[in-house]
């Protein structure tokens, strides 16, 4: 019945769900959750948009070219969450923003763009979402073209990026854009950190949506995530110590 090697993963999954449910219940009862950490990349977004307004130049946003159902699709989805926040901020102060997307997220991106402007009272805003072919080369070149023709003052990139990231980041740097990037792909993380003024890596990309919402129930999920991380760190330290003294019991249990 159980797939071999996934019992410990199931146990951790159930623990995470139990903690989320318990903290969510506490949140519904009125308990306030205060996060001890902040995300500089998210906090810098209003500043970056303000810079674009001062310079009289537009903002460029991209959630990448990964398909929504692909291996990095969840990162693309989080990119859309952050994109809606960025677009609403731009709509609020009347700043121009253009999106560069590829593949099957195009209709969703268009809808989010339009809804973000409608939410701020701009019912007839022109949807500026550009569709480019998938593939690192064509998509990266499309982003470069958009940023160079519009002279974007701010370039915000959140998504599951591959080798198109350095192309886009260089395109942004050449037009002097203030760059904010977020990517959970471990192979691209060093480039995100090196190329952007502010960056979000690993699970920071996934907690951004909850932090932006300031919703107690969503924040409860982040607290649960931190508790699970602490559990895993304890297991790693315990496993290392036990292995060092020759006890393999914990490793055998986790292999089940």
């Amino acid at each position: 019945m159980m797939i071999s090697g996934r019992v410990s993963a199931l146990a951790l999954f159930l623990i995470l769900i139990a903690i989320v449910m318990y903290l969510t219940y506490q949140g519904i009862k009125g308990k306030k959750f205060v996060l001890k950490r902040s995300l500089p990349a998210i906090n810098a977004i209003p500043e970056a948009i303000g810079r674009a307004v001062e310079m009289g130049r537009p903002v460029h946003f991209t959630p990448g070219q990964e398909e929504i159902g692909g291996s990095r699709g969840t990162q693309t989805q989080m990119g859309l969450v952050i994109g809606s926040y960025v677009t609403r901020l731009c709509a609020k102060i009347g700043e121009k923003i253009s999106w560069s997307v590829a593949g099957d997220i195009f209709p969703i991106a268009q809808e989010i763009y339009a809804q973000s402007f409608i939410a701020e009272g701009h019912l007839d805003a022109k949807v500026d979402v550009r569709f480019f072919p998938r593939g690192a080369g064509p998509f990266g070149a499309g982003c470069i073209e958009t940023m160079s023709t519009e002279k974007s003052a701010t370039n915000i990139m959140f998504g599951g990026f591959g080798s198109e990231f350095p192309i886009m980041a260089e395109g942004g740097a050449r037009v002097g854009a203030f760059q904010i990037g977020g990517c959970s792909n471990p192979t691209m993380t060093p480039l995100v950190v090196a190329a952007c003024d502010y960056s979000a890596i690993s699970e920071e990309v996934f907690v951004a949506g909850a932090i932006l919402s300031e919703n107690t129930v969503q924040l409860a999920g982040i607290v649960a995530l931190d508790i699970c991380k602490a559990i895993i760190v304890c297991l790693i330290i315990l496993g290392s110590l036990l292995s060092t003294v020759g006890i393999k019991t914990l490793i055998e249990i986790l292999k089940i």
Binding site: M2, I3, R6, F13, L16, V20, E67, T74, Q77, M78, L80, V81, S84, R88, G103, D104, F106, P107, I108, E111, I112, Q115, S116, A119, R130, F131, G135, G137, P138, G140, A141, P166, I167, E170, G171, A173, P186, P190, L191, A194, A195, I201, S202, E203, E204, V205, F206, G209, A210, S213, E214, N215, V217, Q218, G221, I222, A224, L225, K229, I232
Partner: protein, 213 residues
Amino acid sequence: MATILKRDIPYVLILFFGVVMAITFFLKIPLLSEFAVEAQRLLVPISSAAFVVGGVSLLLYHAARVQRRTKDWQLSVVSIAVFFIFLVTSLAPGIEKIHTVAYTTIVGMVTEAMWGLIALFMVSMALRAFRVKNLETFLFTLSCVIVLIGNAPVGESAFPVAPPVLKWLMDIPTMAGMRAMTIGLGLGIIAYGIRVMWGYERAVIGEVRREAS
């Protein structure tokens, strides 16, 4: 009615498929596993429908450029022409060979040429990334230099210490960092999945939060 179609039904589907996929990941239930495989195949036609919307948008964008005679509008004429040439040759029966030849001789060549141009951007980006600004960028640059020397054929003879340092770098700090990020990534995806299934993350169906901005 619009709310039911645009919000409620998608959420019911997300919850249903989310639970089915989670169960089939942990448990071996033949019927559910077959259903999960079939459900994943549904992604192909759904994704294809999005390309139709993308194609229409592309045409409208370039048609507007041609109509307004904006800068380099002639390139938009080429884009529209190429779009229709490839559409017709790929759909019309009997002329598939024209499509294949056009693809390999035009698209293949253009793609190669574009990669050649983009390579300059990659090099420029690498130089920008290797610029030492603080301790983190110094460590990053130092690691990159060691990896370059360690992998270069001349590296071992010129710097005998480089290959063992490279091996240590790749096996210990890099591996530890990658595993930490992978664990964080996995937990982040689970937490995000729970938020989506409970209806707190709405962007995935194109809905924007109204309460906060």
